[in-house]
């Protein structure tokens, strides 16, 4: 039996609107992945530590507050420090202004899922990108 894909869904910053994060966590679980949801108000340090401890293949960041650039850059740097070359796939969901996308890709984000994305697309992207 092949190993399940392990995913950490995380909500950084002070914003607590986590409808999206919870729906995604539920969907990925239904798609057969092992999903850990951090809960709200996680610092970048807490997220990177959880990703390391849980040995996940994917880190999904949900963010709507507008504070994405700084928070995601920090998370990406901390993941790199902790995991060396063996980084989990980093994906982002939420309201990300078009002009900010490039800098998120540059700091290591693989994909950004905006409003209206179907959960099927997200499942398909993760399955395609993580080769177990």
């Amino acid at each position: 039996m092949s190993k399940n894909i392990r995913v950490l869904i995380a909500k950084p910053g002070l914003d607590g609107h986590d409808r999206g994060a919870k729906v995604i966590a539920h969907t990925l679980r239904d798609a057969g992945m092992d999903v850990i949801y951090t809960g709200i108000r996680q610092s970048p340090e807490m997220i990177a530590e959880a990703a390391f401890q849980e040995d996940v293949d994917v880190v999904g960041i949900s963010i709507l507050s507008g504070a994405h650039i700084q928070l995601i850059r920090e998370i990406a740097e901390l993941l790199l420090q902790k995991q060396g070359g063996n980084n989990p796939l980093l994906v982002v969901g939420g309201i990300i202004p078009s002009e900010d996308k490039k800098s998120l890709y540059e700091c290591g984000v693989s994909e950004i899922f905006g409003p209206g994305t179907s959960t099927k697309e997200i499942v398909a992207f993760i399955k395609k990108s993580v080769n177990l």
């Binding site: 910053g13 002070l14 919870k22 729906v23 610092s43 507050s65 078009s98 905006g114 959960t119």
Partner: protein, 527 residues
Amino acid sequence: MDDKLKDNRVTRSGLKIDPVYTKPNKNDSMHNDLPGEFPYTRGIRKDMYRGRLWTMRQYAGFASPEASNNRYKYLLNQGQTGLSIAFDLPTQMGYDSDNKIARSEIGRVGVPICSLADMEILFKDIPLEEISTSMTINATAPILLALYIVLAKKNGVSLDKLRGTIQNDILKEFIARGTYIYPPEPSVRLATDLVTHCSKELPLWNTISVSGYHMSEAGATAVQELAFTFSNAIAYVKSALERGIDINSFVPRFSFFFVAQTNLLEEVAKFRAARRIWAKIVRDRFGSGDIKSTRLRFHAQTAGVTLTAQQPQNNLIRTTIQALAAVLGGAQSLHVNSFDEALGLPTEESVELSLRTQQIVAFESGITDTVDPMGGSYFVENLTDRLEKLSFDYINQIEEMGGAVNAIKNGFQSNEIHNSAYKLQKDIEDGKNVVVGVNKYQSSDNLKIMRGQNIDKNDIDKHLNRLYRVRKKRNQNDVRTSLKELEKAAVTQNVNTMPFIIKCVEVYATVGEISDVFRKVFGKYDG
């Protein structure tokens, strides 16, 4: 029989809908209710909008006290009489702007307020006795209201002239949205401290706005929105009654806050049912028949989650239907979201369109000329009855769990809401639930999401420098003493903390320092 007649159709909340409704049995319902009379199904006043329109109140907050003050003065000059203040997340969570945790969030979703010095700038040259101020703040509500009180005193405004509303509904933060700091019990105590303090000192202030809006945004159905909101309201009433005060001394200052969704007729029925439910709770459960206590006043806001990033102009039509629902449902005040809010903060033009939407509903649609125009519609009356019954069933279920606080600690309400959100997402993806422009009639335009509030670094620096200056110049002894006194009050269960918070802010103790005292005494809550 025609197949279309046999279709299974349901409302947004999953209530079954028959192809046609006819006259109900005589003893089925109270269809002869009159507006202004218990249980106020048809409205809280005899004349409703013939007497006075709802308040058109648009919510805004800018990245600094100076910028917000400019905007408020502009709005007041345009004839707006009510301000509605958005605070940034660090202020909502009890952190000063120089706290490490605040660094990327200062001024993002509203104005940062650290001390009386910021409050003085926020309301500079604004006559507090002439306006009504709405503050969307919960965990730190007692501190922000204390700041407003102290500012009024400094400006020589008598407290019985202060009008406004403070959200102060911490329980729904545990259920949705998440801006709680302390565990549920001490959080309810602080909310109650504010309620009971105002019942003596600020007679015109709406001390709580018990909110279903955020639960709906998190995915709640209309029934869940009603039931969980009223369960929370019951918890607040009980908590205040435990202080030994008369119900009619504080419940008249309770107000409510609901969403207006696009599902027009169910929403109208929801608002009608809400009034009936509250009237019955206050009379039957708490034994007050006083009109001021039993009648439910509410603010409505159109549903943020229904705004689509795809084909954004469609949202103008959605918010118009939602505004109609609020007005047909008898709202006392209304905020209409702007059509471009799924793409970023609204522009001045789009905010103006929101106000124009309200004005067209008010002056052109004709629905304000008679009271409760939907009253007597077989379908709407039937939905009103069913929503009332289903809500009471849910409320009783929560009471059996030991009330709202216990249910929250078991995660009951948030799980129920999540299940609704998940089902809705599946229904949208399966095409069972049509969202025009998203899962039907799509266009291939690329989404262009705009950057939110542009935050001027100079504004933030100025704000931070003011905080440093305040910390340096104030009388440190006074600050230490007042914070110590507050701590003593907080550890003593039956002492009202409000007068102590007021003393702290008077000597320029900060929102962060005061919240730290409570964090020390009550602990932090991690959900």
